[in-house]
């Protein structure tokens, strides 16, 4: 045997950038994440050609799933053309030969930062959420080792206390995004900083969601048809953002999550946060035959 036998022919990078050993590790960890919904599985999280905090966790999950026939949609804050989303999507095409799309319905893998599309995902689609901070207990326990013990004991009393304090002080729960949610009745997760509007889309969904934090080196999952319940008190119902009556000034559509755009005169305008959903609505308004899938919310409500 020679040293050469131990290696492969030289290539600048592997298919999908990650080497086989990195992919195998991610495969093993993703399967464990699926097997124990909501539990944060530690993984090595290799460096990738993007800065930590810029979607490296989502990137590694997607790269592991990627094949040349994958159709990939990448969104940041709901927008496909947000600069970092563009950069990530280009990377998938560059190292994986993947087909790029902006259409939620056409995608096989959707990697997203901070939003879940308004169109309902199907069971053949995988949602990969980028996670900056996977630890819902961080605010009450910055020490990760202790937080891990608390998860082990399902010791979430302090989280309830935080929510209760908000109620007492402010009259309502003021947790904005990253709303702590109980998965399969066992683990509390941070659903990543998606708005409260989107958390309900994880509950008993048709699709698989992988949540991956590259910098913090944790991966967790919400399988399809799994309970995801925001922590709430029996007598204080969960409230999504008050966007049900807002109308998008571009597409004239009402009842979805909106971006608020401050105006010079002191007022605000609103536009759909899910940018391609907006594009499709506009095209439809202009008479094009555009296929828009069922949406999670109808008339601003979710069943």
């Amino acid at each position: 045997m020679t040293l050469k036998d131990l290696t492969k022919p030289w290539a600048a990078f592997n298919y999908g950038f990650l080497d086989e050993s990195a992919k195998r590790e991610l495969r093993r960890k993703m399967l464990k994440a699926v097997a124990v919904p909501g539990y944060q599985v530690p993984y090595a999280s290799r460096e990738v050609p993007m800065a930590r905090g810029w979607g490296t966790g989502g990137l590694q999950a997607t790269l592991t799933l990627l094949k040349p026939t994958s159709v990939v949609k990448v969104i940041d804050q709901g927008a496909d053309d947000s600069v970092n989303a563009v950069s990530i999507r280009k990377f998938f095409a560059r190292v994986g030969g993947a087909v790029e799309t902006e259409d939620t319905q056409k995608a096989t893998i959707i990697q997203s930062r901070h939003r879940i599309p308004e169109e309902k995902l199907r069971e053949d689609q995988i949602l990969v959420l980028q996670v900056p901070d996977p630890e819902p207990l961080r605010a009450v326990q910055p020490d990760m080792s202790i937080a891990r013990e608390m998860h082990g004991d399902a010791d979430y009393g302090q989280l309830w206390l935080v929510l209760y304090e908000q109620l007492v002080k402010s009259g309502r729960i003021i947790q904005g995004s990253s709303y702590p949610s109980m998965v399969n009745g066992r683990y509390v997760i941070s659903p990543s900083p998606i708005p409260r509007w989107d958390v309900k889309k994880l509950h008993q969904a048709d699709h698989l969601t992988i949540l991956s934090a590259g910098r913090e080196k944790r991966i967790y999952a919400v399988p399809p048809y799994t309970n995801v319940e925001p922590l709430v008190f029996d007598d204080v119902p969960y409230r999504v953002e008050d966007h049900q009556d807002k109308t998008c000034y571009r597409s004239n559509v009402t009842g979805f999550f909106m971006n608020e755009l401050p105006q010079d005169d002191g007022s605000s305008r609103h536009e759909l946060s899910d940018s391609h959903f907006g594009v499709k609505q506009i095209r439809r308004n202009e008479g094009e035959a555009v296929e828009i899938a069922k949406t999670w919310y109808n008339n601003g409500r979710m069943d």
Partner: protein, 189 residues
């Protein structure tokens, strides 16, 4: 700089097998078909020197077929380990004795429930025991028929799992695979 945008045959095969495995585990009870079959192909997509394995019984898990599973698993670089320490367990579960032997497998700890075994076992789909599965990944419930596994196994599984502690299971019939994670409730009908 030239970037490789075409997967090699190895890349494609291991990727496709993983896709079936994650699909199967995300939807317990759903039968998935792998492009290339068998335990060796599964091992190739998951195992390497960073994990350990254990084989209970063999002659490619009593299919008495050609090949040498132990050797194939070791070829991935993964290390043989005692059952109580092994990450991946390949076991034929045709007898009550085999099921009893398996009961020493690792089920993880409360801090690290992922440090639990994944079991791959040969099975026959379509004949044998009727099982009703429910839990994450399953809308309401699903019923499957599985043969080639000793009846005592399901009781042993129920006893071993103290969720989130437990083990994750793949039933393998040739190229077909069904996943049953520890989160799945199994009722023997």
């Amino acid at each position: 700089m030239s970037l490789s945008i075409l997967p090699t045959a190895d890349d494609s095969r291991t990727n496709a097998i993983f896709e079936e495995l994650i699909w199967a585990l995300s939807r317990p009870g759903l039968l998935r078909t792998m492009p290339a079959g068998g335990f060796t192909a599964i091992a190739e997509s998951l195992l390497d020197r960073e994990c350990t394995f254990h084989v209970l019984g063999d002659r490619v898990l009593d299919g008495e077929s050609a090949g040498d599973l132990e050797r194939d698993l070791a070829a991935t670089g993964a290390r043989r380990a005692d059952l109580a320490q092994a990450d991946y367990v390949f076991a034929a579960l045709r007898s009550a004795q085999a099921v009893d032997d398996l009961s020493r497998l690792r089920i993880g700890t409360l801090a690290y429930p992922d440090e639990a075994a994944t079991v791959f076992t040969p099975a026959n789909f379509g004949t044998g025991q009727q099982l009703r599965l429910s839990g994450p990944g399953i809308r309401d419930s699903v019923t499957i028929t599985v043969g080639g596994i000793d009846a005592s196994f399901w009781q042993m599984r129920a006893k071993a799992i103290r969720y989130p502690l437990g083990f994750d299971l793949y039933l393998v019939d040739g190229d077909d695979v069904v996943g049953i994670p520890r989160s799945t409730k199994v009722e023997v009908l």
